[in-house]
């Protein structure tokens, strides 16, 4: 049992390592965006948290969401649609091994992204970050990978192999923008700021910002409850697709 789980993780990792063309964009985009918006465009204006610090939380969230959605959603949709998951389902493989391996990959990618951002922010971005805050931020961001892996799973189990990538791009990019992950939430029009309350990445990024002493001042439990509800809804949708797949 344990050996199966470890081997699934090992080979999931080797697959990604041997096909860097698939993994690369997921890692590169948040880092490039952070470099552009937080480091190059940063004008160090005014008081409060600097942009390079603020955007560690928001682009960290953006990167974690991407790694989770694409690591889970796209690979499950592809392996399901192309029949590979069915081959595995005919074996005694515990389904947990399959999912644990994918979660492990999402966490690994997330950690690479967040640590890269922190390194950039600290060395050339002028981000203000103590070690305890950096660790708290990393912890919050990694725990968000669970929610968005569930989101990816919901898409992967309900959308065809060809539909998953376009659909996820259609969700990922606008949802990130509207949640204040690209430009700060307070820079968006007031109507959009209110709408963001209904988007999971907003709550995710608010929790991340809180570890840096920022955020909009809503109590943390509001965001935690929102994330838990979102996770439950995504898992329910994923389970619906899974049942449909298993009992045709």
């Amino acid at each position: 049992m344990l050996r199966t789980h470890l081997l699934e993780i090992k080979y999931e990792f080797l697959k990604a390592l041997r096909t860097p063309q698939y993994a690369f964009p997921t890692l590169l985009f948040p880092i490039l965006f952070y470099l552009f918006f937080a480091v190059v465009m940063n004008r160090h204006e005014g008081s409060g948290m600097g942009m390079a610090t603020y955007m560690l939380a928001t682009y960290g969230a953006f990167g974690v969401i991407g790694a989770s959605l694409f690591g889970f959603g796209v690979t499950v949709a592809l392996e399901r649609g192309q029949g590979w998951l069915h081959v595995k389902r005919t074996t005694p493989m515990p389904l947990s091994a399959y999912f644990v391996a994918k979660i492990a990959m999402a966490l690994l990618f997330s950690a690479i992204i967040v640590i890269s951002l922190m390194t950039l922010g600290f060395t050339i971005g002028g981000a203000q970050l103590t070690l305890p805050r950096a660790l708290a931020l990393l912890g919050v961001l990694l725990s968000g990978a669970i929610t968005f892996s569930a989101f990816g799973l919901a898409v992967g189990y309900n959308v065809s192999a060809n539909g998953a990538v376009p659909l996820l791009n259609l969700i990922y990019l606008p949802m990130s923008f509207l949640s204040g992950l690209w430009v700060p939430i307070w820079a968006l029009p007031r109507g959009l700021q209110r709408f963001a309350f209904f988007l999971p990445p907003f709550h995710f990024s608010q929790l991340a910002l809180k570890t840096l002493g920022g955020g909009r001042g809503m109590p943390a439990y509001v965001h935690v409850i929102a994330m838990v509800i979102a996770t439950a809804v995504f898992l329910a949708i994923a389970y619906r697709g899974y049942r449909h797949d298993e009992v045709q």
């Binding site: 050996r3 080979y11 649609g81 029949g83 590979w84 081959v87 005919t90 074996t91 005694p92």
Partner: protein, 241 residues
Amino acid sequence: MSTLHQLYTAPPPAQLANVTKRFGTTTALDNLTFGIQPGELVALLGPNGAGKTTAVRLLLGLCAPDSGIARVFGADPRDAANRIRTGAMLQVARVPEPLRVCEHIELFSSYYPSPMPLAEVIAAAGLEGIEKKSFGSLSGGQKQRLLFGLAICGNPDFIALDEPTVGLDVEARRALWKQIRAFVDRGKSVLLTTHYLDEADALADRVAVIDHGRIVAEGSPSEIKHGARSLEDAFLALLGR
């Protein structure tokens, strides 16, 4: 318990009883009854769309019948104990390509409590010399042999092979036939679907001809051929074409 006693009481490796399966308005299987005895290689022969793949999927627990029952070793195909005793080779559009032959086998073997040793799987599936090649770099025949290797690596008693040689050249087909035959010679049972008549003729102990979700003829290849010059003539006559 004596061997003879076991022979009489052991449930058949695979059994479909009065199974009907519909997909929307299409009836894939129409009150189909069909089974495999221990040590037998049965070919389910029929044109595309006859219901062969659906029969395999039902026996692997990948879908459930609308009515009737599907049984493997007398129990639900989804039972954990049955998954251990069953192997499958499905028609799959894509297999993870960056992984190597031996890595695929190592991973699949880890799912089973008493798998075959790696070297035995390599030999039984004819994969000598390409253990280190990635799946993506294999030829069509080698890919099918690896999928066969994955089907047998858990040391199952029954395997279902869904069109195992489709798209292969003569040489590659013959090579896979040899591996399949060797598996049956070890006392194991095989369900093989095919639309190649020569494949059914060369391999099967028993052939069940299926069309529009029904069995239209069943018997040894020579019984099916009875009165016809070839299995092909018999097949076309059975399908009324």
